[in-house]
Subunit: 243 residues, 2 copies
């Protein structure tokens, strides 16, 4: 039985222009790994209507789950919600429960629920709200697409709200062996072992320290016993080079 | 005249599993912005043959340039070079000039140019080498796809080798106004200004500091005079809220 698959869609000119360094991808990757959901692909697109609609359609057809990040605020460039609605061919309107959440929040903070802020209550027909304990304006799930904010603290809170409702698989475990040998020296024995343990993933990540080349050998899989067996063999292969 | 467009393809299980936080995307975004190349899309895929071939084909057809990062080392999971060759339907073989570079390097460092390391001299027919002053094993450009290493120091050096050969456009400039108002309060006037200056891009990025909400308003474009004009108007709109 294999784990559910997922993709992420990051929406935002600010990432592609280099103004902001995205951190949501790294956060989600770790959460999904722990939850046994296999993150297979990430796309970053700009605040462009056609690009967002096309990416939502392609990813939602190809994977069990899609998480989007960004573009659900109150400004003119926040177009994710209507794009997701269009991708699935459903109408989008201001929804009473979402409006009530915002009204209560702005009453409490003494701000006005103006037309711009009301945009954040637009929810596609048939969607389920995702709770936002940080800044209240909700995300939503429409079919297998989960729409969340781009601000990292809000994104993280929404992931925490969503995760319990997603069926995960066995957590994906990993073990690392650090060896003081160049990648070119470990490649052959590592490749042979990877072929033998073809139910596991083997990765090698070179590094350089004080002019010496080393490699981190990483084995990943969801069966702890198999992982242990592979690590025993890996240790034996590189017993003279462990660091 | 608009700037050339580009996409990036990041190849690596280690990014999608959360083991490594990618930094090459942020670096390339800034370099392209400075060079007047419009980075429109980034995709991250795993070390999977079919996924890499499909992404290379889709992105090279849609954009002027594609930069790939990762998967060109000596190990079994380094499959980017043959995947790019397959995407364009050309053969790939160990090439004499690439082999000579590696031979000289390993002679100098006292390592053996073994079979694994020789994989790094496989270059698709018709490709141009990209110089790697850090660890010698070259990248390559095949048609509009530029194949580079994933290790950040090597990736950055290869980008520096490649950039002078790419025709850029006018650098994309940006100016920021920081205002101590929530995004919902700036949205309406900002949207109106964005419609008036529709040759520029307007972004708004909320933040929270000491419990107070503020927003960074960013205007981007390649015409400095237009940018100045927009900033003058923006300043006048929010003169009471500038921080």
């Amino acid at each position: 039985m294999s784990n559910p698959t997922a993709a992420m869609l990051v929406i935002g000119d600010e990432i592609l222009s280099g103004r902001t360094r995205d951190s949501n991808m790294h956060f989600l990757a770790n959460e999904f790994t722990r939850h046994g959901i296999d993150l297979r692909e990430v796309r970053v697109v700009s605040d462009d209507h056609a690009a967002i609609v096309a990416a939502v359609q392609a990813l939602s057809a190809a994977y069990d789950h899609v998480v989007t990040s960004g573009g659900i605020g109150p400004t003119h460039d926040d177009i994710t919600a209507p794009c997701v609605a269009e991708a699935f061919g459903v109408p989008i309107t201001v929804r009473d429960d979402a409006r009530a959440l915002l009204q209560a929040h702005y009453d409490r903070t003494g701000s006005e629920l103006n037309e711009a802020r009301l945009r954040m209550a637009r929810i596609p027909d048939g969607a389920t709200l995702i709770e936002n304990p940080v800044s209240i304006a909700p995300g939503f799930s429409l079919q297998n697409v989960h729409v969340m904010a781009g601000v990292p603290s809000v994104f993280q809170a929404m992931v925490a709200s969503l995760l319990p409702s997603l069926t995960g698989g066995a957590p994906i475990l990993s073990q690392t062996l650090r060896v003081m040998r160049g990648e070119g020296d470990v490649a052959q024995p590592l490749g042979a072992l990877a072929e033998e343990f073809n139910d596991l993933q083997f990765g090698s990540y070179p590094f350089q320290k004080d002019g010496i080349y080393g490699t981190n050998l990483v084995v990943r899989g969801s069966d702890g016993a198999r992982l242990d067996a592979a690590m025993t063999r890996l240790n034996a292969l590189f017993t003279d080079a462990a660091a």
